[in-house]
């Protein structure tokens, strides 16, 4: 946990405008999709951070924001401690891309069908000024275990299998010799039997090249297998984070609990832990008009009054270092005892103050700061 932070996001926010049509355009103000709200994370050298969530939770948007493919609505992205904002595809973007590279979900779509592997890799190497002839190509392909290189260089994408294609796109990302790699569901389009091969390759690269990897997935079991740290996102907000083993084995947030207990688990046939047995577990909310307070409260079996009105802050759970959760259930533990009475009066206060979610944000935006650690019991 002590390794150097490569890429850092603080209170990252992205709202997509929705075009209002017909009467809505006249009657209401501009509507936005709250795709990502107040997301803070840091990628460290030689570590894999997993970002887990359902589709529509905003996890891919986070990756695209970190890659500077979208301009952000608010918050800050720091690379090597320096705040950066890149617009357009110019010189600045190229310099940024040299340090942060992305791998996309679908290797069938992310490679150009009319160009050979040689073209894809040569172009990437030349753009980043690292082309030193044939041997640099061979070295790249060797890194992703496509050897001998001569067998693959002249191939077109359609001549390769899904796993080989994904390896080529990883090689292309490595051509820039990046510090951080953003992998957006890198194995979900691949055949089951070759997924692990690609994940193991990424892990191997992480160790050899000391890369910081962001692994975006909806499969919490693979996050446990592959990532050092796991962050859970729900409806555009981060709800829990910590060491992968802790998050998957002792989930604190009710949503993480739901996620872990919904995942298929063959062990159950041998009397493993029972699955989540609520009849109707509901559906993710609309992000145009997200629920006030904690966004999970309409589905949460443990929702309290305070959950409907105020956004919970990050609180340390206390069962493992750096295991935090944004849930009112844990508020007391994180702040120490004797605060519960205050929490109750808080509810009334906020009722009077009315629920300005926007206003609550800066408070919740408290990053993974030393203050929180100091508050740990």
């Amino acid at each position: 946990m002590t390794s150097e932070v490569v890429l850092e996001a603080e209170a990252l926010t992205k709202h997509f405008p929705v075009r209002a049509r017909g009467r809505a355009a006249l009657s209401r103000g501009p509507k936005v999709v709250h795709a990502v709200d107040d997301v803070s994370l840091s990628l460290r050298r030689g570590r894999v951070t997993a970002l887990v969530g359902e589709s529509g939770s905003g996890k891919s948007t986070v990756a695209r924001l970190l890659a500077q493919l979208y301009p952000r609505t608010g918050g800050d992205i720091r690379i090597g401690g320096v705040s950066t904002a890149v617009k357009g595809g110019g010189r600045h973007f190229k310099a940024y891309a040299r340090r942060v590279q992305m791998i996309f979900q679908d290797p069938f779509a992310s490679l150009n069908p009319v160009h050979t592997v040689r073209h894809h890799l040569t172009r990437a190497l030349k753009i980043h000024g690292r082309y030193t002839g044939e041997e640099s190509l061979a070295e790249l392909l060797g890194r992703v275990q496509l050897t001998p290189a001569s067998l693959y260089l002249e191939k077109y994408p359609h001549e390769l299998s899904g796993g080989q294609r994904q390896r080529v796109s990883i090689a292309r990302a490595l051509a820039a010799a990046p510090e951080a790699l953003l992998a957006d569901e890198p194995v979900s389009m691949l055949d089951v039997s070759i997924r692990l091969g690609v994940l193991n390759l990424l892990r191997d690269l992480k160790e050899r090249l000391d890369l910081a990897i962001l692994y975006i997935t909806h499969d919490i079991a693979s996050a446990r297998y592959f990532a050092d740290e796991t962050l859970v996102m729900y409806a555009g907000r981060m709800v829990e984070g910590g060491d992968s083993e802790t998050v998957t084995q002792r989930p604190a947030h009710p949503y993480t609990h739901l996620l872990v207990h919904s995942a298929p688990d063959p062990e159950r046939v041998r009397g493993g832990p029972a699955p989540y047995d609520d009849e109707d577990t509901g559906e993710p909310p609309s992000l145009i008009d997200p629920p006030s307070g904690c966004r999970f409260h309409p589905r949460c079996p443990k929702a309290m009054d305070v959950c409907r009105t105020r956004v919970p802050e990050r609180t340390l759970v206390g069962d493992a270092p750096d295991h935090w959760v944004a849930c009112w259930l844990f508020e007391d533990e994180g702040r120490g005892e004797g605060q519960s009475a205050d929490a109750e009066t808080d509810i009334e206060v906020t009722d009077i103050e009315t629920t300005d979610v926007e206003g609550a944000e800066p408070e919740a935006a408290e990053p993974e700061a030393p203050e929180l650690e100091g508050a740990a019991p």
């Binding site: 089951v192 070759i194 909806h218 083993e245 996620l259 699955p275 109707d280």
Partner: protein, 358 residues
């Protein structure tokens, strides 16, 4: 589970002698098959360019059973389902075999020999399918009610409009959707709801067999579990049998009674779900089971399966899995191993030279 064993024992018995006719099955009378696929082969294309996607597959679905069909993309699992139900679009051609449906009363009928009229009456009323990407198989320009009543009107033209609407509402209630959604268009429903509408539609005429082709692949795990649980409950209530096709073996282990695993167009192993999970015999099944990271228990280093799935245009000689198999030995390069009952456990079947028949 013991009756399960008897069923699959009977099942593999009929497999070992593919030529044995229906009389053999009814004579023994042990299992209670509702759908029997015998020696089915499906090609894509004709002539020398033809690619064999399904090769001599035998599969029996018993009454009230959930049969899981697992395999990677290109293993022929969907082709098998569409071939068996005569839904395969050209260039797919069924080149051999028979598919026997055993009605609750009466003699078995061969789906592959039905006239178009018979087939039309048979589909949906006896056997229905929930398609892959079912979320997108609803008609976007008509309401849910129109699509649900359409099925009923086609098969039971004598019912009144009010009755059909009542039935449609009943069906939606069955899958846990509020009645006021009847007038919704598909785009007004979430993915999970669309999926449940598709399941409701498949159950509209109370079929005896429902084939589900990756029904939950496009959904999130939370919704997936909700739908699977609902399905299990409906199955108990209505007593239909399910063929469940998916690539997610860990889901199958939890939800199905028996699992058949396909590779390169053939079934390589078939066993009761728990036995397959505890002790898989075929190296491919074993590899597939070890391709899913576990959510609990010790964190193990997993390898997946080296190599990539076979190209149907250029299948390996002998066992299709042999180039990727860690345990391949001499006989594997010969002829493809037949699906037999292994000497070690006659209650299941496997196609591997490591496990010769008794």
């Amino acid at each position: 589970m013991s009756s399960e064993n008897v069923m699959s024992a009977q099942k593999s018995a009929s497999q070992q002698s593919p030529d044995s006719t229906t009389s053999a099955t009814s004579k023994t009378g042990q299992g209670n098959p509702v759908l029997e696929i015998r020696g089915l082969s499906v090609d894509y294309g004709v002539g020398p360019q033809a690619v064999r996607a399904v090769n001599d597959v035998h599969l029996t679905l018993n009454r009230g059973e959930v049969l899981g069909l697992a395999g990677e993309s290109g293993s022929g699992k969907s082709t098998l389902a569409y071939g068996a139900t005569r839904l395969l679009p050209p260039p797919g051609v069924v080149t051999g075999g028979s598919v026997l449906y055993h009605p609750d009363d009466g003699d078995p009928v061969d789906l592959l020999r039905m006239t178009p009229g018979e087939l039309r009456a048979f589909r949906w009323s006896q056997l229905s399918i929930v398609f892959q990407g079912a979320m997108n198989s609803l008609n976007p320009v008509t309401t849910v009610a129109a699509q649900l009543t359409d099925v009923i009107a086609e098969h039971r033209p004598k019912t009144s409009k009010a009755d059909r609407m009542a039935r449609a509402a009943e069906l939606l209630a069955l899958v846990g959707i509020a009645r006021d959604r009847l007038d919704s268009y598909p785009h007004q429903l979430s993915g999970g709801m669309r999926q449940r509408v598709m399941i409701a539609m498949a159950l509209a005429l109370e079929p005896r067999v429902v084939i589900m082709d990756e029904p939950t692949t496009a959904l999130d795990v939370v919704m997936q579990r909700q739908i699977m649980r609902q399905l299990a409950k409906l199955k108990e209530q209505l007593g239909f049998s399910v063929i469940f096709i998916t690539h997610d073996l860990s889901l199958l282990v939890e939800f199905s009674d028996r699992i058949a695993i396909m590779y390169g167009g053939r079934i390589v192993e078939q066993a009761p779900a728990v036995e397959l999970y505890d002790n898989s015999l075929h190296p491919y099944s074993d590899g597939l089971l070890h391709s899913f990271p576990a959510l609990r228990g010790p964190r193990r280093e997993l390898t997946g399966i080296p190599g990539s799935p076979p190209d149907l245009r250029d299948m390996p000689v002998g066992c299709a899995f042999q180039p990727r198999c860690p345990k391949a030995f001499d006989p594997c390069g010969g002829s493809p191993p037949p699906l037999v009952r292994p000497a070690s456990d006659p209650g299941r079947s496997v196609a591997c030279y490591l496990h010769p028949s008794a």
